[in-house]
């Protein structure tokens, strides 16, 4: 199962994302933002970092890259896509996920191990979790405050598209403690915390993040 990991100028966590894919039993495939080539991958991960130095708005310029046009088209046809942190910002800027990520309400960069509640265990990236399960993975961002118009938040909640919520403290002031959301079909998921940093006991606070990458292997098989 081939899982693509896109590198943009300024991506930081592409190597960790590829490592997480490998530990989960998948084959990581390096993708370059300036190519028009998805290399026949079965799913795509947009990693964390500071693409284009967060110039203009976090994720804004990366969202207009050549490869992202292909990702948008493929996602609309069901390709599973996961955006982590800066990758989540890119997905919102590209219009694949609703809402926007803005400066943390307290203005500080926040870096800590974070408890999340899994609100949906039926997306392409969360099938190996249970609904209501609590997981601990790192969060590290300066512009992670999820916002959308109240009507849009109501609609998202009504459509059950909130995938994760912050528990035991909201690290950035996100509306309604939202940490991650999904597309209507549950194939595209974005979140600010970093599952790829919680896949080994040696380096992470847990191995709770591994489930993202094992889940998508099944989703890709079933597609």
């Amino acid at each position: 199962m081939r899982i693509g990991v896109i590198t943009f100028p300024g991506s930081l966590d592409d190597v960790d994302a590829a490592r997480a894919v490998r530990l989960a039993g998948g084959e990581p495939v390096a993708l370059w933002h300036a190519d028009h080539d998805l290399k026949d991958v079965d799913a795509v991960v947009l990693p964390g970092g500071f693409s284009y130095g967060d110039y203009l708005r976090a994720g804004a310029i990366a969202a207009r890259s050549p490869l992202m046009r292909d990702v948008v088209t493929a996602a609309r046809h069901g390709l599973p896509v996961l955006g982590i942190c800066n990758g989540f910002q890119v997905l919102c800027e590209a219009g694949l996920l609703p809402g926007a990520l803005t400066r943390n309400s307290h203005l500080h960069f926040r870096n800590r191990d974070q408890v999340l509640r899994v609100e949906r265990a039926d997306t392409a990236w969360t099938a190996d979790y249970g609904t209501g399960q609590r997981i601990v993975i790192p969060v590290k961002n300066g512009e992670g405050r999820y916002v959308a118009a109240d009507d849009d938040l109501d609609r998202l909640e009504g459509e059950n598209r909130v995938v994760f919520r912050y528990v035991d403290g909201n690290p950035n002031g996100s509306s309604r403690d939202i940490a991650g959301v999904a597309s209507e079909n549950g194939r595209v998921v974005g979140l600010m915390p970093h599952p790829e940093h919680a896949v080994e006991d040696l380096t992470g606070p847990s191995t709770d993040g591994l489930g993202f990458f094992t889940s998508v292997l099944k989703a890709a098989v079933n597609a």
């Binding site: 926007a100 203005l107 002031g173």
Partner: protein
């Protein structure tokens, strides 16, 4: 949404030659009123500490200056403003066509 566009007649009718004389387009982007602006609030706090008690609010935004070759296409400028310079989910944008 795109806010007011300066450089046109009050009736919305394009004045003869106005757009053709334009070489510079200024685009101002501000957070929508309902989106909280912690950076503006931090600036407001600093102003208070400096004794500027008459300032009761600060909203921080972005200011772009576009140099245009030839006659600007207003529809194209609006599209640029709405699809790249601003994120319509959180920001409002205003175009100013200047003739200097």
């Amino acid at each position: 949404m795109v806010g007011g566009v300066t450089g046109r007649g009050d009736d919305g009718e394009q004045r003869a030659g106005t757009l053709a004389d334009v070489s510079r387009v200024v685009v101002d982007v501000v957070l929508k009123p309902e989106i909280s602006d912690p950076q503006g609030q931090a600036v407001l706090g600093a102003l208070g500490r400096l004794g500027h008690d008459s300032i009761t609010g600060v909203r921080q935004g972005k200011h772009f200056v576009l140099e245009v070759d030839g006659t600007p296409d207003e529809a194209e400028l609006k599209q640029i403003a709405q699809t790249l310079l601003a994120n319509p989910v959180i920001e409002d944008v205003e175009l100013h066509l200047t003739t200097d």
